[in-house]
């Protein structure tokens, strides 16, 4: 008899077993041909019979959680067409022909090369070190008192180490639940890259705000970062590194990113004004820059007063 393949789907790697016998049983009892150690599966759940004419006959043996064959809950089900999908409790299985085509092989993150950024554990260590250095620089540039090591350590621990650790842990837990694997190295590298990029872009956004004399650049940066970049980066990670399917990876990325997106929306003055259209504070351009690059021309006091006459009062809220 031509061997067929039984595929048992699991959260991690699926189980595959070839069989060429005319009869095969699946269930939780240890004298089955294929043992399914799931509490929702009966000791003897399904029997598969193969006939000479190529027909495959499936028999439901379960009283509790009866089996489904190709989505139908029949006591017996016969077919000659493969694949056949079987549901036993919460276990999904398929009978496949031996010549079933498999999906194309996906590249390892970093192409499997140890020279690649994603390919060597040292990259994670170096990037973490760089993040701590950037965190230290952030402390240096935002402290205005005499230097104290203990203040630096507290700041870097609180602002950099804790943030990165929290993100790595959350993403690791997601990955463990999704594909039953730990990818600490890849997650650490990805989070560290995002942290560095955020630091760089936030400085750039501030300079652009000064350049254009408009808070819109920061609003766009914040919204773009949390609504577009973070979901895109998580999708990229789930699809290209974790190798989830595109739809699943994208949906999951949206789910993971949504708390940040909601926070970004709630804290964005432009969006806020759409929901709560009153602010008793004067939201004017407070930012200053040592580069002092701006597109607005420097005007005389007279011209300023002349232009200021056109300033209308703000909108009344409903």
């Amino acid at each position: 008899m031509e061997p067929l393949i039984i595929e048992i789907k699991t959260r991690g790697l699926h189980r595959y077993q070839a069989f060429d016998k005319p009869e095969l049983t699946l269930g939780r009892a240890l004298d089955n041909d294929i043992i399914l150690s799931d509490p929702t599966v009966e000791p003897y759940h399904v029997k598969i019979l193969r006939h000479e004419d190529g027909t495959i006959e499936l028999q439901n043996l379960a009283q509790v959680n009866p089996a489904q064959f190709n989505g139908r809950q029949d006591a017996e089900y016969s077919t000659t067409i493969l694949p056949v999908h079987i549901r036993m409790g919460r276990i999904s299985a398929s009978i496949l022909p031996r010549n079933q085509r498999v999906a194309a092989t996906k590249l390892l993150a970093g192409n499997g090369s140890s020279n690649h950024l994603f390919g060597h554990p040292l990259s994670a260590v170096l990037l973490l070190g760089l993040c701590i250095l950037v965190g230290g620089l952030e402390y240096y540039f935002t402290s205005y008192n005499m230097f104290k090591w203990e203040d630096l350590i507290k700041f870097v621990f609180r602002e950099t180490v804790m943030s990165i650790t929290a993100f790595v842990l959350v993403l690791s837990i997601f990955e463990r639940l999704l594909v039953n694997r730990w990818e600490i190295k890849l997650i650490t590298i990805s989070v560290a890259l995002i942290y560095l990029l955020y630091q760089l872009l936030s400085v750039l956004a501030n300079e652009l705000m000064y350049l254009f004399s408009s808070g819109l650049t920061t609003s766009i940066f914040n919204l773009g970062w949390y609504l577009i970049f973070i979901p895109a980066a998580v999708s990229f990670y789930l699809i290209r590194v974790t190798h989830l399917g595109q739809r699943k990876g994208f949906a999951l990325a949206m789910l993971i990113s949504s708390p940040f997106a909601v926070l970004a929306i709630m804290q964005n003055p432009t969006i806020n004004s759409l929901f709560d259209n009153f602010s008793s504070a004067a939201n004017y351009q407070k930012n200053l820059s040592p580069l002092n690059l701006h597109l607005s021309k420097t005007i005389s006091i007279d011209t300023f007063i002349e232009q200021a006459r056109d300033l209308k009062p703000g909108e009344f809220s409903d």
Binding site: Y144, M146, A282, L288, I301, K312, F316
Partner: protein, 419 residues
């Protein structure tokens, strides 16, 4: 000396003594029938919304009180009405005839003659005894003795300092001199024995301007309040602009100092930590002639300006500017809600001031009920210096936006950079 002769001499001395000043008990007895409790009542509940005092003036039909005592009726004239109550409990309704919002005065009229009007007089010399009467805390008519502290120029001459104790409920009551004439109207208190009186000349002006006036139309009350405030602000700004502004040296800048007698300036520099790598100096100036508007908005007519100088030799430009940006914020109080004011609308300019570049912001919002009345916020921060920063915050509340701009202009023109 024989006792009979002593008695004769004493009697003769008393007989030839010049006419003496009235004592507090005389004043109380003379005027207790001419001073009333003024009440604003809710038509629906019949209960008091606010109370104060008032006294008979002019022809016996009119009562003077403070604007803030009866201001509840301005926004809701259909719901509230004004009454008086005599010491004997007699009550009657009053109508608003005229008001002077800037000086916190209101003139009310009754359908019937209320009694003997009290006449006014000029202010006695500083230190002379004066007597304030009113109904403190709804406890009945009372008299507070104090002395005249003179007219306060920091209040735009609109207040007399009274070294007696005024309490809530006495607002609108008269303050007498020793001759039993009204020199002013009780208006406010700051703390123990520091109280304020509106000079009676403003009451006389109000009475004169209201001659032949009929009671104010309730529909136009809000418009009238806004118009009076705008007119007062325009006049006040005009006076401030007419002054010669003294300069104050703040490190490398010479800036306007006390630009009006109504303004007081204080050093507001916060104490720095011993390990701070920078120095900062702050001056805060504010006027004292605030105007009561209503329960929600409280006081308007504020003029506040602050200077903030920042310098450091230790901080590099990036660190310095991070600090500079962090400190660059306005001090406007934001207790008003959307029921009272609009949002601020702001715009940004880069302005050349004395050869130095400033990043300037001007913001403006309007009052919901009082058309034409605005809050103005102006800020300007020095740019282009790697380790020196300076910013101004300039705030005017309840003002005329157009009228405030020349003030901003003169302010900037009076800033000079001394290299």
């Amino acid at each position: 000396m024989k006792p009979g002769i002593c008695l004769l001499i004493t009697l003769l001395m008393l007989w030839f003594q010049p006419a003496s000043a009235l004592e507090s008990k005389n004043i109380y007895e003379l005027y207790e029938d001419s001073i009333f409790q003024i009440r604003v009542l809710n038509r629906e509940t019949g209960k008091k919304s606010s109370i104060g005092s008032g006294f008979i003036v002019d022809d016996g039909f009119h009562i003077a009180t403070n604007f803030h005592v009866i201001s509840t009726i301005i926004l809701e004239p259909e719901l509230f009405y004004i009454t008086y109550q005599t010491k004997n409990g007699r009550e009657g309704e009053l109508q608003l005839v005229a008001m002077d919002v800037a000086h916190d005065l209101a003139l009310l009229v009754s359908d019937e003659n209320l009694g003997k009007a009290i006449v006014t007089a000029d202010l006695p010399p500083k230190g002379a005894p004066v007597f304030a009467m009113g109904n403190p805390l709804d406890l009945g008519l009372s008299l507070a003795v104090g002395t005249n502290g003179g007219i306060l120029n920091q209040t735009d001459d609109s207040r007399i300092l009274f070294s007696g104790s005024l309490n809530p409920g006495m607002s609108g009551g008269p303050t007498f001199n020793e001759d039993g004439k009204v020199i002013g109207i009780n208006v406010a208190t700051a703390r123990n024995d520091i109280s304020f009186i509106v000079p009676s000349r403003f009451l006389n002006e109000l009475i004169a301007s209201s001659a032949n006036s009929s009671p104010e139309s309730t529909n136009e009350l809000v418009t009238e309040v806004a118009a009076q405030l705008i007119a007062y602000e325009q006049s006040y700004i005009k006076d401030v602009l007419a002054e010669d502004w003294p300069s104050v040296q703040l490190r490398q800048l010479s800036v306007p100092g006390t630009i009006s007698p109504t303004v007081r300036c204080w050093d507001n520099s916060a104490k720095l930590k011993a390990n701070a790598l920078f120095k900062r100096y702050q001056i805060r100036c504010a006027n004292q002639n605030h105007v009561y508007l209503d329960d929600a908005n409280k006081f308007v007519g504020e003029l506040i300006y602050e200077y903030y100088w920042l310098e450091s030799e230790e901080l590099n430009p990036v660190r310095f500017y991070n600090l500079y940006e962090k400190l660059n914020k306005d001090q406007i109080e934001n207790h008003l809600s959307q029921e009272e004011v609009s949002n601020f609308n702001c715009d940004t300019w880069f302005v050349d001031v004395s050869g130095e570049e400033f990043k300037a912001n001007l913001c403006r919002r309007e009052y919901v009920e009082y058309e034409g009345l605005s809050d103005v916020l102006f800020t300007a921060a020095l740019t282009g210096h790697s380790n020196q920063g300076f910013f101004i915050t300039f705030i005017m509340t309840g003002t005329d936006f157009e009228a405030s701009l020349p003030l901003v202009q003169k302010f900037l023109e009076n800033i000079a950079w001394n290299p």
